[in-house]
Amino acid sequence: MEGEEDVLETSMIEEEIRANGGAANEKQRSKAIISSEQMDVEAYASSYTGRTKIARLIFIAERCGNTTMELEALRMAYDEIKKGENTLLFRDVVDKIRGRLGAAYGMDHAWVDGVDRRAEARKEKLDNELNAYRTNLIKESIRMGYNDFGEFYYAHGALGDAFKNYARTRDYCTTSKHIIQMCLNVILVSIEMGQFTHVTNYVSKTEQTPEVLDSVTVAKLRCAAGLAYLENKKYKHAARKFLETGLELENNYTEVIAPQDVATYGGLCALASFDRTELKNKVIDNVNFRKFLELVPEVREIINDFYSSRYASCLEYLENLKANLLLDIHLYDHVETLYSEIRHKALIQYTHPFLSVDLHMMASAFKTSVAGLEKELEALITENQIQARIDSHNKILYARHADQRNTTFQRALQMGNEFDRDVRAMLLRANLLKHEFNNRQSRKL
């Protein structure tokens, strides 16, 4: 479609437009879309470990609005918590289950008490140890002591205390390795807490260490930074970070993010924020990222469809993915924005090469009504994202080429008027000041 500048061959273009809409539809139907089915909670959960797994499961349970899925998620969360020592979360989940999963998933007081008692004892022991280290002033031991405390609190769900203790180890770090470890710990806790400013801070701190970071750490840092940018709605930066994430990530960071997520987050952010060439260079031709995309074929298809202008299928894939993305603990908040951005991009890209576009065909390509499309285009024209005007009578969109000469004249005249007004106002103000100034002077003299 890029090469279709020749507007005289309208018939050809029309065919092309049909191909965009119609043909893609047929292909669509023949292709089974995997993610249109309901999310497989178990498979999803298995790609994560640690606290994030529990958090994600609870998140799904809260939002899915479907009892079977909710109970399934809660059951797995329950099992997972039992493996750890987080009694706070345990109570929470038991409350959420409300006995709907039978006696086996009720309140296990014996377990809770046992864990709490052991925790108390361990805390005391750690406290004593740390005090001993501090009196002896052995840096390394103090660091270890704080670190143990951090791990202890983290395991028990006291994230704030964990964060404090991890951060405290900073004063006792002697080698770059320690610093990196400290930073990674802090980043992990901050992500759990949703404190993404800390994440950005500590990512840059880690990157400043003199030691050459190993590729796994680099990948982890990229992901963390990507998440932080995503949370701050800086989608372009987020996309860059996710795209830079190395394959070494594999399953090394499952306590935060799974490689599939890198593909999804990165892919969607890139679609929403990159232009066509960037998309081609940085996403489609990116060998590294392509491997990530293989993990989530839907996203790969979306990107390819988008690039080759098969918008109908692209948007349909997106629509199918939406339900699942809304259940993602990091992405749910941004799905709407990203989707509308992508849709706008698609609309803009669609109209770009043409001098005139038939709205009926365009509407069918985007699977919407002509009136709805008109409204969308109207909004884009108002924001000056599309330079075109709509012929509402014949339902045709005409590209509008701004007349540089006229606009220059217009702007020059306007500028002249403004200057005129400003200078006169300035002269007057200066005169008033002068007058007041003289008045005050003569009073003083």
């Binding site: 108002t382 012929d391 006229n406 002269l427 103000r429 002068k434």
Partner: protein, 422 residues
């Protein structure tokens, strides 16, 4: 102490040569008190003098007479003063401007008391012109003249004075009133750009305390800028801090009106109007507010021309929230007539097609217009430079600057003093 008769004789004798005039002026000043005591009986004396020859003497006697006169002779007084203003000699009255101003004020007051402000318009315009050394000077009579124009609804007469570019200002209060009344006259003539300019002068001028003129001007400025520009941008940073800080206490509902206008929704604007209806009424701005509403319709239609080549009247009515296609057609028609949009209406199928601005910037008139703009701006910037030079060589200013500078290092002497944020 002289009798009135001998004074008249002096006036008649000393009114021709310039050097005699100075002597006469002294004489008149000395006899001011006696004139005051004789005031009520001075009327007949005036008949012995010719205002076109003995302007100065006439002025003194007239002033004394007028300040003491009330009641039944009013009618006569107005015409006497008017005649005097018409025929007096500029050089002579300029010797006693304060007397002249007081006579003119008397005329204004009388005209207003008679509820015939129109009688004062023409004489005061002449008076303003006679009192002005150049058309760049603002006189104390300007506000009085404009008030009469406003009351008499002689907007055109008032506008003829407003067309001059005022630069020299002596009394800030005169200037504020001049701009405020001038702004109102321009609003009456629907010259919104000029009105904005005048009101803008008031709200951005330096002031050390709040004043009511500025507040009222600001209210009108917001409304007019909505009507004219479709938006209201915040005050520039050279606005005096007193004003920009305190205006919220007085004009908050106008700011809210501007916000609801910016949303582009008629319904929101209407609800804001309803909420503050009484306040707009007490401010006497209901008429302007109504114009704001109708300008929003126009603005919305104008926005459509950016997006559409053709659009049915029905669609226009829907998007702009007009009740019928008929009304939409009227609006569009009116706007085409006023040159605000370029469009044609096809009544057969109820379609409006919008066109681009046909101005090609190729015509001779356009070139002339551009050329005159360039000339005007060059003249202005020259004036600015002169002004800058003048200020930087003003002895009082330099003295003050020197005193302030002593506290600092003399090396960091820069040419623009920080205190003068214009």
């Amino acid at each position: 102490m002289e009798s009135a008769e001998s004074l008249i004789a002096h006036i008649q004798g000393l009114s021709s040569a310039p050097e005699d005039l100075a002597q006469l002026h002294n004489l008149l000043k000395q006899s001011e008190e006696s004139l005051e005591s004789l005031a009520p009986n001075l009327g007949p004396l005036l008949n012995q003098l010719d205002p076109s020859k003995h302007s100065l003497g006439f002025l003194y006697i007239l002033e004394a007479y007028a300040s003491a006169t009330h009641g039944e002779q009013e009618n006569n007084l107005v015409s006497t003063i008017a005649k005097f203003i018409d025929s007096c000699v500029t050089e002579q009255i300029c010797l006693a401007p304060e007397k002249f101003v007081s006579v003119c004020r008397k005329l204004k007051d009388e005209a207003m008391q008679l509820q015939m402000p129109i009688r004062g318009v023409a004489p005061l315009r002449t008076a303003v012109r006679k009192l002005q050394p150049t058309s760049e000077h603002l006189t104390t009579l300007h506000p009085d003249f404009l008030v009469l124009c406003l009351l008499a609804k002689c907007y055109k007469a008032g506008f003829s004075v407003l067309e001059d570019d005022i630069v020299e200002v002596e009394q800030p209060r005169d200037f504020f009133l001049y701009c405020y009344y001038g702004g109102m006259i321009c609003i009456g003539l629907k010259r919104f750009r000029k009105a904005m300019e005048l009101l803008y002068y008031v709200i951005t001028s330096p002031m050390s305390s709040m004043n009511a003129i500025a507040i009222e001007s600001y209210k009108k400025y917001i409304l007019v800028s909505l009507i004219n520009n479709g938006q209201f941008s915040n005050l520039p940073k050279y606005t005096s801090s007193v004003f920009s800080r305190n205006q919220k206490n007085f004009c908050q509902y106008y700011n809210e009106l501007a916000t609801s206008y910016a949303s582009g929704k008629i319904s929101e604007l209407q609800s804001c109007l309803e909420a503050y209806k009484d306040k707009f009424e007490t401010d006497n701005n209901v008429g302007l507010v109504k114009q704001v509403v109708s300008s929003l319709y126009k603005r919305n239609i104008q926005r459509l021309t950016q997006m559409y080549l053709t659009l049915s009247l029905q669609d226009i009515a829907n998007t702009v929230q007009l009740s019928s296609t008929k009304e939409a057609e009227m609006h569009v028609l009116q706007m085409i007539q006023d040159g605000e949009i370029f469009a044609t209406i096809n009544q057969k199928d109820g379609m409006v097609s919008f066109h681009e601005d046909p101005e090609q910037y190729k015509s001779c008139e356009m070139i002339e217009h551009i050329d005159s703009s360039i000339q005007r701006i060059m003249a202005l910037s020259k004036k600015l430079t002169t002004m800058d030079e003048q200020v930087s060589s003003d002895p009082i200013y330099l003295a003050k600057l020197g005193r302030e500078r002593q506290r600092f290092d003399l090396d960091d002497f820069d040419t623009v003093p920080q205190k003068f944020h214009m």
